[in-house]
Symmetry: C2
Subunit: 340 residues, 2 copies
Amino acid sequence: MSPTIKDVAKAANVSIATVSLVLHDNERISPETKRRVLKSIKELNYYPFRSAQGLVSRKTGNIGFIITEEHFLRTEPFYTRVFLGAEFEARENDYYVLLATIKSSFKKSDPLPRFILERNFDGIVITGKVPEAFIKSLLKYKMPIVFIDYVPPFGDFPSVLIDNLRGGVLATEHLINNGYKDIAFIGGEISHPSIMERLQGYKLALERANNNSNGLIVTNDEYLTRQNGYKLAKELFDRRKDITAIFAANNPTAMGVMKYLTDNGKKIPDDVSIMSFDDVEAAMLINPPLTTIRVPKVEMGIEAVQLLMKIQKYNGKNNIAKKIIVPVELVIRESIKNIN
Amino acid sequence: MSPTIKDVAKAANVSIATVSLVLHDNERISPETKRRVLKSIKELNYYPFRSAQGLVSRKTGNIGFIITEEHFLRTEPFYTRVFLGAEFEARENDYYVLLATIKSSFKKSDPLPRFILERNFDGIVITGKVPEAFIKSLLKYKMPIVFIDYVPPFGDFPSVLIDNLRGGVLATEHLINNGYKDIAFIGGEISHPSIMERLQGYKLALERANNNSNGLIVTNDEYLTRQNGYKLAKELFDRRKDITAIFAANNPTAMGVMKYLTDNGKKIPDDVSIMSFDDVEAAMLINPPLTTIRVPKVEMGIEAVQLLMKIQKYNGKNNIAKKIIVPVELVIRESIKNIN
DNA sequence: TTATTTCAGTTAAACGTTTAACTGAAAATA
DNA sequence: TATTTTCAGTTAAACGTTTAACTGAAATAA
């Protein structure tokens, strides 16, 4: 049996209230008593029992981490790294993280993850695009929510977002700087704000460079998979055979494009240069390694939990829907040939 | 404020004890009363408060899921899928899963994950190879443990393991059936039981086929990474330039081998055939897609949690260290050429 | 000096649930 | 009929912690 607060109190010859106060760093306790209590705590290897704490304090000590099953199982460990960051920061704040996946086909009538139904969480982090029906169900619980890499089309929520616009600009400028003029943009899921912003960045950079590379945007609204990248590349080259530079909206898309190119006898980067977005390991390991815009994944998880902690602290008041934009960075590898 | 058991009792006009008994399906309650109570529960959308339950029942409702940080962040979502299976099965049993990563450099003096220190779990699943020092620290807590894809070199623990031996046999036989005689085995981390067993399977299949392909086993004890695969492939071809069939001990290794081959002008599978192990998505997406031994990852997670539940149930008595061996399966793709 | 304030704790109620022990009515048994 | 057993619940204690309200001694103020 684990020691309880009573055992500590007895050992330190104080009341259990004193032990509790020491545990919460209350200034009412003298240094000497505090020392004695802490000594007993250590000697007995005492840790407060969460359930008992939760019962009285009405805090659970849990934060939820929600992600669609599809995202969680993606080949690229993108959101996995985000989770790791969240878990790290939660631990720093004495919280546990409960991870739950939901289907991207979530309907209003579907049951919410158990820890939500049971109200066994103090706040929640939602990562990636999730169904609106899910968010609406969740809102009834009136719990703090932080979104990562996605903002729902309604309401105004605290969120941690990627600087997609700047990423799009950086990516496009790099291609321009390497001597390209006709630059194609390839991307699925165009209704996703992140992809839309990358496209905006692409357009902005072209404008700034007075580059008039029209009609080379090939998109649809299907998932950003390798298969879709392949399909979109085919579409692109069916329309324009002369393209030599492509900005692919994310990593799997870039890989699909590459597969299409090699299948059709084109060499990368000798015949076609490719710029990608996200920077997951696969980008580095493929041949040739992809030049890409890197997104700080672990940091996003950390930021999200920190934001959640702040929202909890100022609960109610000072309740600004704060948005944090994390920076991106250009990582140069071998998928782009300088033709200057 | 969420409704409590009191609210339900009042609504159904019974005592709180009756509500509790209904919740636990006690046969002491008449069907009529039970119906009434369940109706109130539903109407009020009542869920028992975990902390209160935990306080009296001394169960936390959590199970821990431990994995090294290195494994969790691997490019291949191998253990991620295992986790998903565990989470799914835990939910079925009304448990939460607390995921915690530890460093593979864990030392005796390092702190354990918080939920362990706080005893906030009813059992634990350990996935992949973890440091012995960690296991030894954990044992002091005398909690049920189930290992996945690893058994520590000491003690006898319940575990869910891959049928590596059969996998090794299947893989090697497939190469033999495709006309190969001189078959190389490449693998790192040779002290890991799983890899050792795959090697044993390889040897066994060769023996059975009266194939005498000696001196073609190239191993070391470094991690099973792409880099190491590359290195080992170099070592192999430095010694024997004529090898045309390779069995790589896992997926990254196979990819490293492939990279070495293409870097050295060899075509796959025309010049060299490659067999792999694990079957993660990457195996399918690489060019050419890898023929491989598939491991049922999600099922391993499910089995592990089921085993943990059983151990808890028969707590103490009937305490057999049960081992579950999950089957593997051959998945034929395009990395092996039939030369018969 | 006495009265007031500060200090350093202690006391006791409360949180929501489970469950052993109890109860009173109805049914079964003698 | 009187007694015992079964049924269908109820009562009340317990779990480990937090915290508002209290206390008694020492320090300060009047």
